[in-house]
């Protein structure tokens, strides 16, 4: 029984809660978004829900590992890997829809990633997993299929990551108001953080790396929160706060006003 495992479980639980909360807040504020941004909004809701669904069984898995319940550990790993395999689907839809604007094309291409995810799962479940290896900080499984790992690396990791980087470049190369740059770039950085470290979490063989990867997933979730709901101090620091003003209704006679000014 290791305290490290409990710390791991706590981080997983924090990721679960914050991802679900974020998905819920996004869905609840649906009315505030325009019709054009709704498909992208719902893909984000699905993405964060999938992150939550991945880390909910992982939390139980870590607690099971703490109590030495190997069967529950294996069962929860098998459960967690299902939403994990499809995280790339809403992500790809989100990026493609925002860039290209076509729901149909984005949906068809996302479907391809459903196939990637399904084949990853198929190879993973048919070839099996090795483990768990329970250590001081985590419980690690090894995927017993090189094809599954390759599918994940090539199909589910490299392509979506390249899409995020491309989209980020597009934003950084464009001159735009500061608050818009913040609003578009930070969610992408957050998603990239979560997505990349989820993969690291899944394929790592080192327990400390698993813990650190999960910590970064948590940081990514917090970043996503900050992207959509930046606190006032951060807004002031970055110079992105909205100046509160009321329109000056009185007609101004410029000549009169200039006369009033004591130069």
């Amino acid at each position: 029984m290791n305290a490290g495992l409990l710390l791991n479980a706590t981080i997983c639980f924090a990721i679960t809660i914050s991802s679900f909360a974020f998905a819920w807040v996004l869905a609840r504020n649906e009315e505030e978004h325009s019709e054009k941004s709704k498909p992208a909004l719902w893909s984000l809701v699905i993405l964060w829900s999938l992150v939550g669904l991945t880390y909910l069984p992982t939390t139980i898995r870590m607690i099971a590992a703490y109590f030495g319940k190997e069967n529950l550990d294996i069962m929860m790993y098998s459960l967690a890997v299902i939403p994990f395999s499809f995280v790339a689907v809403p992500l790809v839809f989100f990026i493609l829809y925002v860039i290209a604007g076509s729901k149909k094309i984005s949906a068809y291409i996302s479907l391809l990633f459903v196939l990637f995810g399904a084949s990853f799962l198929m190879f993973l479940f048919t070839k099996g997993i090795i483990g768990p290896i329970v250590s001081e900080y985590g419980s690690i499984f090894t995927i017993n299929s090189d094809i599954a790992i390759n599918i994940y690396m090539m199909g589910l990791f490299v392509i979506p990551t390249a899409m995020i980087i491309g989209f980020l470049l597009l934003i950084f190369l464009q001159k735009m108001p500061k608050h818009l740059r913040y609003r578009t770039a930070l969610p992408l950085v957050a998603i990239s953080f979560v997505f990349d470290f989820m993969l690291t979490d899944m394929i790592t063989m080192v327990d400390v790396m698993q813990l650190v990867a999960r910590l970064f997933v948590l940081i990514g979730t917090v970043l996503a929160f900050l992207a959509y709901f930046p606190p006032m101090t951060l807004q002031e620091k970055l110079g992105i706060q909205k100046y509160q003003y009321e329109l000056y209704e009185k007609d101004i006679d410029i000549d009169e006003e200039e006369e009033d000014v004591d130069v």
Partner: protein
Amino acid sequence: MSEDIDVGLEQAVAEFYQSMGIHQGPGDIQYRLILRVLGKNEGKITEFSEIRKYTDQFADKGSIGSKMKTVFQLEGLVEKVKRGGYIVTDKGITASNFLKDSTAFYKKNKRMGEIIERMP
């Protein structure tokens, strides 16, 4: 190389610049269309009638003629080589290239605006 002139696009670009308070040059549809026709005919004589083919829906013959004289000829963007025939100068080509850049800026801005609109 011959290039098509999209009057609708030119009008949209002009309106975009007008919305930013730029009513002359890139924000002037007459200026845009005249310069686009001149740029299309680089190294050739541009007939006044050809310019009017594009500008008739926006302005009468008199105001286009006046613009040719007071802006294009006066600033050395074109040279009159015969009655109703103009040839674009190097300076005119520079102006035409600037106009193309202004269209590219409009397109880039529009595309980015649409992307931001779709971003939740």
